[in-house]
């Protein structure tokens, strides 16, 4: 089974191994035809209706605005319904450096998102801390506090790179399972087991 993205060939994507692995995992458990078809339908819906949460801290956010503007126009993919309330968004694209003061806010925003939720780390700072890695108050990558689905390198990433990252996310969504064992949910729980949060009021 191949994961198809419209007008993109398999060769156009760089990392196909991980998606093959996910497909394998998906097929290993096996599901009957009806459930499988329903899953596909749901995943089709989810993958094509990714509403971003407006979340930008620095330069990458400006490139994200360019993504929405006329030349790149993310509306073509149906991504343009940027929601400002995390309750209604599907993914959080971390654009920019996350510092110590922002970390609890970002974590809370993630928790406020409704399932299914995804995280994209866009730009060097979100991926690893970027040029500010050695600073006293910069988080060396958002994957220290959030389970990241897709990393988009660049400083800032070009809009095309962001599209590429979003399409990778679509591919990942398309091999999810809604009915039966949700492979994704388990991974998230595993992540939070490794990064325990201090239980408090939120």
């Amino acid at each position: 089974m191949d994961v198809k993205i419209k007008s993109m060939k398999r060769e156009d994507f760089k990392d196909n191994e991980y998606i093959d692995k996910l497909v394998e995992e998906l097929n290993a458990t096996g599901a009957n035809v009806v459930v499988g078809k329903l899953d596909q339908l749901i995943n089709w819906g989810r993958a094509n209706s990714l509403w971003p949460l407006c979340f930008g801290t620095s330069c990458c956010a400006i490139e994200f605005m360019c993504l929405g503007a006329a030349r790149y126009d993310m509306a073509r993919f149906g991504f343009e319904v940027a929601r400002n309330s995390p309750r209604q968004a599907d993914y959080i694209m971390v654009q920019g450096t996350i510092v110590h003061r922002m970390a609890p806010v970002l974590r809370r925003l993630y928790e406020q998102l409704a399932e299914p939720k995804y995280v994209i780390a866009a730009g060097g700072c979100a991926v690893s801390g970027g040029p500010f890695k050695n600073s006293y108050c910069v988080l060396p990558g958002v994957d220290k506090i959030l389970p990241v689905d897709v990393y988009i390198p660049g400083c800032p990433p070009r809009p095309e790179a962001m599209f590429y990252g979003l399409m990778q996310l679509q591919r990942k969504i398309k091999v999810q399972r809604f009915f039966g064992g949700a492979n994704r949910k388990e991974k998230i729980q595993e992540f939070f087991a490794q990064h325990p949060e201090e239980k408090d009021k939120y």
Partner: protein
């Protein structure tokens, strides 16, 4: 002109012929209910796509393109996703009211939709205070919004709800007065009679000056009633994140979302009913040949076409105009729009009394 009444009475006769009257009515009610809900969902989806495509074109963009041909399936993808999205229930909220609010909003817009005359003989119920009933039901929606804002226990939603309360209650006056102006002119509140009265020319032509003024007032007030730009203060994305529905997720938010678009259709439908003849084709007295040609176009196409056109205008200025401020909005209504519509009502009364109309 084709009369959809032929179909409906055929169906009615078929049912009453083989079962007792109460059973026939029951089945008819169920069939109509299902039809209304299906129409509601399809129309809302169409409207979402309509607006997204239109605004993209205003902004030199393409809009949804990749899901289905020309992005036609985009809204279905959105619907599937939103249906199975998690419903978050919050600590510290009034759970019952929180869940009730979206249903109130959507119910009121479904009921309004059911009252519209879709075509010749294509109307669910016809009774003498039709338009009055529609206005009354439209006020239930604001209750839902107020409850949503209040029960979410969030400062943004509360401010959004208060704004929306102030806005909708005030603009309902102008809306009502604009409609009363036409009711005064037509002499009836019965929706069917209103349409038939426009057989020899739409009210906006027959009532000329006061009718045109009433139409403009109606469009402004209706924009405010549906919380759309430049009057989208209750949502005010850039001030209150998402306004009264900030805390809603999944299909509960979907209900608000659908209702917002459907309300746009409903106010456009009422505008077309009150001013542009509803499903009545464009008739010019004396031009019999022309009228005959116009009659060839099915009545439902006339109705939808007019409604879509008015929606187009409303969408157009939503995307062009900045948002007004709450005090400016209220000042505009109470200081200008309402006195103006009252004066217009008097003007219409004079016109009717003196017969200065066609």
């Amino acid at each position: 002109m084709f009369d959809f009444g032929i179909w409906t009475s055929w169906f009615n006769n078929l049912l009453t012929g083989c079962m007792p009257g109460w059973a026939a009515t029951l089945i008819e009610c169920v069939v109509i209910g299902v039809l209304v809900l299906a129409t509601y969902a399809l129309l809302a989806l169409f409207y979402i796509l309509y607006e997204r495509k239109l605004c993209a074109w205003f902004q030199c963009r393409l809009g949804p393109m990749r899901v289905g041909k020309w992005g036609l399936l985009q809204v279905f993808a959105d619907m599937f996703k939103i249906l199975i999205k998690e419903l978050i229930s919050l600590k510290g909220t009034d759970k019952f009211l929180f869940k009730l609010a979206p249903y109130l909003v959507i119910t009121s817009s479904v009921v309004m939709l059911a009252c519209l005359p879709w075509g010749r003989g294509l109307q669910i119920i016809n009774y003498n205070i039709g338009i009055f009933f529609v206005l009354a039901v439209s006020s239930v929606g604001v209750l839902g919004i107020l409850l949503a804002g209040w029960s979410s226990n969030n400062k943004y939603t509360l401010i959004g709800a208060m704004r929306s309360g102030a806005q909708m209650v005030s603009y309902e006056l102008s809306l009502g007065l604009a409609i009363i102006t036409i009711v005064l002119f037509a002499g009836t509140m019965n929706i069917n009679e209103l349409v038939y009265a426009q057989n020899d020319g739409w009210f906006i032509f027959k009532g000329h000056i006061p009718a045109i003024i009433a139409f403009l007032i109606y469009v402004i007030a209706a924009t405010a009633e549906t919380n759309r730009g430049p009057f989208d203060l209750p949502e005010a994305e850039h001030e209150l994140t998402a306004g009264y529905h900030t805390e809603y997720s999944g299909i509960h938010f979907g209900f608000f979302y659908l209702a917002e678009y459907l309300n746009l259709f409903i106010v456009s439908g009422i505008a077309s009913l009150m001013f542009l003849g509803g499903w009545m084709p464009l008739h010019i007295p004396g031009w019999d040949g022309f009228n005959e040609v116009m009659n060839w176009i099915p009545s439902i196409v006339w109705f939808l076409g007019k409604a879509f056109f008015i929606s187009y205008v409303i969408i157009w200025f939503k995307w062009t105009f900045p948002r007004v401020r709450i005090d400016q909005m209220l000042a505009f209504e109470w200081k200008y729009l309402m006195p103006f519509s009252l004066a217009n009502l008097v003007l219409m009364a004079v016109f009717v009394a003196l017969g200065w109309h066609f």
